[in-house]
Amino acid sequence: MSVNLAAVLYLVSGILFILALRGLSNPETARRGNYFGMAGMALAVLTTLLVIGLGGMTLVFIAIAVALGGGTGAVIARKIPMTAMPQLVAGFHSLVGMCAVLVAAAALYAPAAFGIADPMGGLKALSLVELSLGAAIGAITFTGSIIAFLKLQGLMSGKPIVFKGQHWLNLGLGVAIAVFIVFLTASGGEARAAFWIITAVALALGVLLIVPIGGADMPVVVSMLNSYSGWAAAALGFTLENTALLVTGALVGSSGAILSYIMCKGMNRSFISVILGGFGGETAAGAAEDTSGRTVKQGSAEDAAFILKNAGKVIIVPGYGMAVAQAQHALKEMCDALKEEGVDVSYAIHPVAGRMPGHMNVLLAEAQVPYDEVFELEDINSAFSQADVAFVIGANDVTNPAAEDDPSSPIYGMPVLQVWKAGTVMFIKRSLGSGYAGIENPLFFRDNTMMLLGDAKKMTESIAKAMH
């Protein structure tokens, strides 16, 4: 196949990827978009196969590798529970990172295979810079994503690991990577050890960058690693002079960056402070003191069922606690029962309600909640004042009015769902404990709040039962 034709086909594949993302602007077009993505990938792979020629053992090797990897991927995609999506995505990011390192190494050792060798069989200086950048970003993505995976999967404590001089150490490692990139380039690619040193340092840096970030900030981390994997791909796109990789890298890189921004805004945290870490580790010890004197109005499932049934408009506010308790299906049944009573039910989702961007929407979709009943914070916040009941299940901090009126609160300034404007606020909670940041929610002690203490799933089921 001619080089020019291949280049055009790679461009087409890049455009198909753009269309894949474009489809996601609406759930109706999203499925078609996903097919565009698949077509783009198939086109890129076929083009490459035609470029390298289908002769000999090469194709057999490729078929074996694709069968092994693809089979594993397909099984994972089928089996994975939706609650585990964040760790799955983190795991997948790590693979992209590793892949970038391997491809960069292959380009260093056999530049002729990629058609980027100079007449002497070596590599151009620019290619060396690009491929070592790709390897470094890929290595950071690899170990960083593994740490994120371990934290999200609960195999590693979500507590931030901080030590003295951490940021200086990271800075030092970053400088070391830069120095060795210069060294490798100056040697004209001869000093291959420098490449492996860059990779090793970047692997360590990936771990060090993610360990200080607390479990609560994981939505930002997952998005950020998504972005990194894109930049790694883009760097190699420059090395391999491949348009499909360049375009994809740019798309994925900016997508991850935008999602990180949205997550940071949802928590009112600056990106820098998330990166520097240390948040969400210590639970405020003071919280217990001032609760003792105040009274909490507790309700039973029957009380809740009675109020809900007689309401005109109910807004459900689900949080990650709901997913942990696997209460989404019970919740859907309760809402169906409510709708039969003629109650208007909608759902309000906070940007950081789940463990990754849009996670709660997926969990509700899985429970067969229609997506046009689910609203984002800015679209529904004004509706709470017309609602008779705000039903908060497994959420806490995202409903805390202290974020709006108490400048001393650690979450002051964070956008919150204004559930307190509803006639009655119901909280399903296991206990009166505080949220992830150890912040007490003053809503618990208000007159129009009814606390429903118990397991989210059991409580929702009893409410549904009490309605009949």
């Binding site: 894949a20 499925r31 890129a44 796109g237 002079e241 990754m356 689910v374």
Partner: protein, 113 residues
């Protein structure tokens, strides 16, 4: 006048693609942010292109490094395949779950888009 270095064109494609990405991603409805992440993950595995070229290193007559590059390429193709199949299929599985309300109700747009 001397010719423009092809790298400059690549840089131009890259920068313009970042802008395309910026606008396309902002138009993604927040309800689909998780599928967005899984599908971007799947498409970033287009790095398999590099991996395939590495596997073909021997055929390309890449010299003494070819065997090593082939080994690396084999592993990379495998890892990227996990991602391609896993990423697209899990996205498809998620997207299949998004359903509209059955009975026609008052049309209330989910977002401004």
């Amino acid at each position: 006048m001397e010719a423009v270095d092809p790298n400059i064109y690549r840089l131009a494609i890259f920068v313009l693609a970042i802008f395309v990405g910026y606008y396309v991603v902002w138009s993604v409805t927040p309800a689909l942010h998780t599928p967005l992440m899984s599908v971007t993950n799947a498409i970033s595995s287009v790095i398999i292109v590099g991996a395939l070229l590495a596997v073909g290193a021997a055929a390309a007559g890449a010299g003494d490094g070819a065997g090593f590059a082939q080994g690396l390429g084999f592993v990379a193709v495998m890892l990227a395949s996990v991602n391609i199949f896993g990423g697209f299929l899990v996205t498809q599985r998620m997207l299949a779950m998004y359903k509209k309300k059955e009975k026609p109700a008052a049309p209330k747009p989910e977002t401004e888009q």
